[in-house]
């Protein structure tokens, strides 16, 4: 799998993401700066990592969504490329219009730094094929604005077309509509999720509940290559 991680000023989860990807593929992902103007040739996956790009100025992910390389990411997605956005990356995907809806401030107004449990709502995507349908797994939340919101029409479409990939099981601490933790594009190739699977790939630090996501990706693109 050939993966690239895009780094913005204020991004802080790019190294955790790189460790997770390298762990399953044995190769280091390309680290790209947001001012770069081109993606490497032959990419399988672009990752927008977590953090606080541009200090969350204006709205979380709003500035990053307008940065030069994001235009290339949009073109990559339009060509059928796979894009994963985690936490701030999910916010960027929504701000960039690659996924519908928006992430509001947590309903509690509190920054949430704790584990959460998610249920896999569909296991037939490259991101979730490492899990069983309906399987629950743990990941870490670290966000102030993870309260997924969309209008009623969009919500009906997401649910009707089964584009909700992950849902909080147990507590829905950020107040997301329908307890949505992750959503997919209609072609199932763009996924945004708030919790951090890359934090859970090492038995010594936080467990390995996130590992199947990366293993599934590695297997998907092993056969593709």
């Amino acid at each position: 799998m050939k993966a690239a991680i895009i780094v913005f000023p204020g991004t802080n989860r790019e190294r955790d993401m790189a460790i997770a990807l390298e762990r399953v593929t044995g190769r280091k992902p390309a680290m790209l700066w947001h001012r770069d103007t081109a993606l490497p040739q032959g990419l399988d996956l672009v990752v927008l990592p977590g953090g606080f790009s541009y200090g969350d100025y204006l709205r979380c992910g709003a500035m990053a969504a307008q940065s030069p390389l994001m235009a290339e990411v949009k073109a990559f997605a339009a060509r059928g490329g796979h894009v994963l956005g985690v936490c701030n990356g999910f916010q960027m995907l929504c701000e960039a219009g690659l996924l519908p809806g928006a992430l509001l401030k947590n309903a509690s107004l509190r920054f949430l730094a704790m584990d959460c449990t998610m249920r896999v709502e569909r296991a037939d995507t490259v991101y979730t094929r490492g899990y069983q349908q309906g399987q629950e797994f743990k990941a870490t939340m670290a966000h102030g604005d993870g309260n997924y919101f969309c209008d009623a029409e969009t919500l009906a479409r997401l649910e009707g077309e089964r584009l909700v990939s992950l849902r909080y099981s147990g507590a829905n601490r950020n107040g997301s509509i329908n307890a949505i933790a992750g959503i997919l594009s209609p072609n199932l190739r763009v996924m945004g999720m708030m919790p951090h699977p890359e934090n859970c790939v090492d038995p010594l630090v936080g467990g390995e509940d996130g590992l199947p996501m990366f293993q599934g990706l590695a297997e998907s693109f092993l056969t593709a290559a």
């Binding site: 204006l58 307008q66 929504c94 701000e95 928006a102 509001l104 401030k105 107004l109 209008d151």
Partner: protein
Amino acid sequence: MKLRVTVMPKNGVLDPQGKAIQQALGGLGFAGVEDVRAGKVIILDVAETDAAAAKAAGEEMARKLLANTVIESFTVEAI
């Protein structure tokens, strides 16, 4: 000329900041504050001198960046 862009959470969109302000006002003894909505004001100083053209440009800026129309509404005024 200057433009004032006012960005507000849309009706029906949860506004936890507004709710927190409302509760804090209640805590300070200001009774009867029935609802609070918190948004932001952005002042732009633009070179354009024609008010209608400046306003149209401001609206385009709001649609593209200053507001997220999924969750926010905006107004643009020449001031």
